[in-house]
Amino acid sequence: MSTPRAMRQPLALRLTSAGFLAFWCLIAAFPIVWIAVMSFKSPVDAFASNPFDVLFGPATRAAGNGLSLLDIVAGLVVLFYTVRLALNWLPRMVSRFAPGGQMLFGWIIAATGYAVAFVIAFFVILPAVLGVLNPILGPLGQPIVGLTTQHYQAVWVDNAFYRNFINSMVVTGGVVTISLTVGTLAGFALARSGSTIAFWLLIIALVFRALPHSVLVAGYLPFFVNSAEILRPWLGEAAPTLYGQPLAVIAVLVSINQPFTIWMLRSFFQNIPNELDEAARVDGCTHFQAFRLVIMPVMWPGVITTGLFSFLLAYNDFLVTSLLLDQSNQTMVPAIAGYFNRETTTTDQVEAVAAAVSITAPLFLLVMIFQRQIVSGLTAGAVKG
């Protein structure tokens, strides 16, 4: 179907539109790409004022850390096949070997195994092979681009950033699981009930969503710090100090997230026809059975989307985790504040950059895999109601 002539756009307009789009993409990606490049260079290169020095890293190369043409080609080939295998071979293997109904666990195991295999192949086998090949090949084996992973090593190994990573995973995992369990129940009831109470609950949830988190934390903190004494009359010696407890933070983040979760899940539930649960009820299901056996199986897209946003909230949070957790079980985002606050030398700064890139990488993967779900989640609340 060709566009009618009157709707066709003059060349100038199309060029402006395309130019603007290109400009936007540049602005959108540039800061993120740039810090990723910086994190692989020695401090002199990373903070050089000439952009080509940052890109090619002469000082890093001079220090003996560089990639030859061969390294780059080999690395790109391995990356290309990793992505292709992940897109073609992995889903087939999962659907063949995972028992019916256990697809989710099948995916978790497969993804973990695949990630480990990739890390071994890319960071252990490949460098070993190239270490043998590079000296043989002469000019092709000469380093041309400076690149070093020493900052990542310093962050993850020397500074034990993996501990923060584990804490982050515990907190985000807990938040996603609990807030989806609690939220789907409430979202379903709110979508099916047209009563005034349901309306008021939603409005109150909206007001709660608007509350600045610092207001809430100001309410928790005095209680959490002294909770052992306050709870002693009821719990005796077992009374915990809630301050610094990941479980307490999970509960807090789930609650803060609840208003948003129930609004979003409600709008997904509203898209599922009412006749479906009525039919189940006629067949003798209780409301809960209808919810669990009939509605939930068709609700997975909505649950995954809402889960993604819960994940983002918990993963990205700085304020709550930095105030309610202590040093020993800090999550990644507040932990990075420690880096850039003590940045006395440029090495510290580049380490902070490497930590920042490490935090961003999982999010990058997330957008790659779940782009469609994120877009549908963003539009669910706005377009449908």
Binding site: A28, M38, H213, S214, S255, L312, F318, V367, L378
Partner: protein
């Protein structure tokens, strides 16, 4: 659905919200009228230093916190009325500054400086986010089908990035002789120190926030553009509307509910501006209302947290958000009543 079933389904969520949102609000409200502080006692101390002819002894009176038998500091909690609020608002200094039209003096009080920045930030970013989001949505809608996917992917990156990290990534481009500062210096042919004064930091924060939120507006507008009625557009062309008039009188009215939605979400989020202050480490120049509360909650050098003042500033922050929300709530209430008839 019967009320009982409804209640059973909603109960877990409701209990969590009551326990962790409503209860803290009450506790903040009460806490804002209280003052926790260590019990202090004045101790007479004699300190002697060996001198040439004999010891020189001086007695001084020092204030020490009382230590309980368990080894912890004793603290008291007393009702202090509006004291916390006066200490946060500093009404006398503020009133003096207002009556003498001294803007700088008013900005010396943290709360008023934070309020100014928060409101400025919220109101300036709002039209920018809507404008930029709409422009990107129109441009993507114009683009060829096969580039839309990658463009949406790239556009989502600034939205999904951790706010603190996003602010940091912008800061690293500018800090010291960062790559963009160096570029600007070469272009303007002068020395720049972008982190030395408030207004340049504020500009970077505004840029960061628009960069971070525009993708959200874009995705929603883009979805809205897919449902524009083509017949209306065609009849507008027949009626002789030019491109701009079609945008102004057909497309924008169609997107109006979405604009309201984005404005609402953005007002709520921008009013909570906080991560920018952390990411740009700008507390010496620019602070926001949320950051003020956060700062009171951080332990000071002796390990005390100013809970009273934190609660007071939290309550004041909340007053602001309620004022922002009242028009919206009134509208929803009217719609609800109108709908039920």
């Amino acid at each position: 659905m019967k009320f009982k079933t409804f209640a059973a389904f909603v109960a877990p969520s409701l209990v969590m919200m009551l326990l962790f949102i409503a209860a803290p609000l009450v506790s903040v409200f009460i806490g804002s009228f209280q003052l926790h502080q260590p019990v202090l006692q004045e101790v007479e101390e004699e300190s002697c230093t060996p001198g040439f002819t004999g010891q020189t002894c001086t007695t001084t009176i020092v204030t020490r916190p009382v230590i309980a038998e368990s080894g912890e500091m004793l603290t008291t909690t007393e009702w202090v009325g509006w004291t916390n609020y006066t200490r946060v608002l500093n009404p006398e200094a503020a009133w003096d500054a207002v009556t003498s039209f001294d803007w700088n003096a008013l900005m010396q009080v943290d709360f008023w400086a934070a309020l100014r920045f928060t409101l400025m930030f919220t109101l300036v970013t709002l039209p920018l986010v809507i404008g930029v989001g709409l422009a990107i949505a129109l441009a993507v809608n114009n683009a060829a089908k096969h580039v839309r996917g990658p463009v949406i992917f790239v556009s989502l990156l600034p939205f999904i990035i951790t706010p603190v990290i996003g602010a940091l990534s912008i800061r690293w481009l500018f800090i010291g002789d960062g790559i963009l500062t160096a570029g600007l210096e070469a272009w303007l042919d002068r020395d720049l120190a972008l982190f030395a004064q408030a207004w340049t930091i504020e500009l970077m924060m505004l840029f960061y926030r628009v960069w971070h939120v525009a993708p959200f507006a874009f995705v929603i507008f883009y979805a809205g553009l897919q449902t524009v009625n083509q017949d209306t557009l065609e009849s507008a062309i027949i009626d002789g509307a030019n491109r701009f008039e079609r945008l102004r009188y057909v497309i924008v009215p169609h997107l109006a509910p979405l604009i309201v939605f984005i404005a609402l979400i953005h007002l709520m989020d921008a009013y909570r501006v906080f991560e920018e202050i952390v990411g740009f480490t700008s507390q010496a120049h620019v602070i926001s209302l949320q950051w003020l509360t956060y700062d009171f909650l951080q332990p000071d050098d002796s390990g005390n947290r100013a809970f009273g003042r934190a609660s007071a500033s939290a309550m004041l922050t909340m007053v602001g958000i309620v004022v922002l929300l009242i028009p919206l709530l009134r509208r929803t209430w009217r719609d609800h009543k109108g709908g039920s008839h």
